[in-house]
Subunit: 335 residues, 2 copies
Amino acid sequence: MAANELTKAATGNAGRRVLIVAFPEVQILDITGPSSVFNMASWVLGPKGPGYQVEIAATRRGPVKTKGGLLIHATTSLSRVQEPVDTLLVPGGEVTMKVGSVPDLPPQLRRLARHARRVASVCTGSFLLARAGLLEGKRATTHWVAGGELQRQHPTCEVSADQIFIRDGNVWTSAGVTSGIDMALALVEEDLGRNVARQVARMLVVYLQRPGGQSQFSVQMASQWASSSPIREVQEWLPEHLQEDLSVEALAKRAAMSPRNFARAFHAQVGATPARYIERLRVEAARRLLETTQRNIKEIACEVGFGALETLHRAFKRALGLTPAEYRRRFALGE
Amino acid sequence: MAANELTKAATGNAGRRVLIVAFPEVQILDITGPSSVFNMASWVLGPKGPGYQVEIAATRRGPVKTKGGLLIHATTSLSRVQEPVDTLLVPGGEVTMKVGSVPDLPPQLRRLARHARRVASVCTGSFLLARAGLLEGKRATTHWVAGGELQRQHPTCEVSADQIFIRDGNVWTSAGVTSGIDMALALVEEDLGRNVARQVARMLVVYLQRPGGQSQFSVQMASQWASSSPIREVQEWLPEHLQEDLSVEALAKRAAMSPRNFARAFHAQVGATPARYIERLRVEAARRLLETTQRNIKEIACEVGFGALETLHRAFKRALGLTPAEYRRRFALGE
């Protein structure tokens, strides 16, 4: 069937057909966040509008135990889904990161994706899409704790864990858990326009577009540890000495290497230049101070070794998509 | 039992017991948003930590059809819950606004609340709490579309629909749908501290504390219409004439009343002073222009009759908890 006919077959009178996959230990919010967006869009459009019909499919019909213990009911078994679906949506859960977990899903996803207008994943659902071969050569995102692992398991996929969601062709992937709501709003916007998407966002009391990317929520830096000991010792020494001279020359001296060798070895083993790595450490330290102290931003810039306020500002914007003041408003301890 | 003993009985080895109520046409995200927060807190604490045990209770055990069609499984029937619960949580859904809907719930809620450490509602779940007599003389919030109706049905409850959640003693109420996630984070913070709550927020990729209140998401102003025709005509005339002289004197003249009588009648019938009402109209008009045009904020201030940029700024902050620029970043049409 041509794409047009597929869409028509999957839309029909009952509305666009959204098939959400369920499996044991799935994160239930990855399912119910997007499904509530689609259902609210149908509600906003009214009974005559071109709404959505959301179905849950699992290996077998019936209750599926989700992570934390709640049971959600699958109304259909995956293998029985024959007609084309409009949107095939795959939620996540820790379990999906393990190679070989839920082994019956990837073949079914591959089969259904062939006839779907678009395919989407929430959180670590991206691992299942990748295992079905649907992320090969594509740009994709996933939960911020899982970006490195997805990249390792699927080297042809270009993983970027900083965005809330990414679209590459007809494949959409979203970041951790609640990001599935943001992505579903974007899917509704694609289908029905900004105005409907905005009404849905307001009814659900969510932002139509969040400021900044997913990194602002991550606790650790996704950094590698060097394999050889002199570089690793420098890595361990750095966080407590952010105000000192951290030029390549000074660091190379600590490692008893030439500056050129040091820079080359550092990049190869850590996966970033020394300058970029130090900038990330400083941003991380500044975040902690913004969250837990009342100190003013200029003092903090100085304390973490940025020197000028502008340097902190620029590094923050680059790393988190937010200014330090915006960051503090969202995450600070005090009221 | 004393409060301490209750808490101990409801906490036990399996963790704090959270009982979430389900009923036909419930908004599923009101259930799964908070439950995911409690479950993630247990995960963050690890198997030995004082986590939560979340249960779903309905009139009968088994699948419950939620709004939009998804089925969630109730693991217990409400009438069989005998032991004290730690947190009794009541989700919403349009259906709860209708007097007499789900009539078997309020008596059960009243009974269970007597032995619960705290009681909470999400969205229009507040109507069920109110019907159980649990909001009498309390401050409470609900979905922004439902604030007026809750106030009308339950005059002794002090409804404020601008906050994301409100705590009054051991009764917590939250605003529309996803606000249940924000409230659950606050409950976790109360139990386990800011640090655990922050880790949960980051794992779920949500803000620990959202900037601004619920009003920023509302489409219409929750305003009343005057009952007598001269005042009502002024109300109808106002939105198209925001740049004109809107002093009480000028408006009284339009209504063929004395300024004093006009001001008094306006307040009595509309529920706000003319000045406050006009300010809200101007904010509403400015919001539309910020969302749908590229015009700069100063021009917009002028166009909606605020005159000075600072007046717009102040009115915006007061009404929405955000500056006009922040508002535009979140809701603007263009990229």
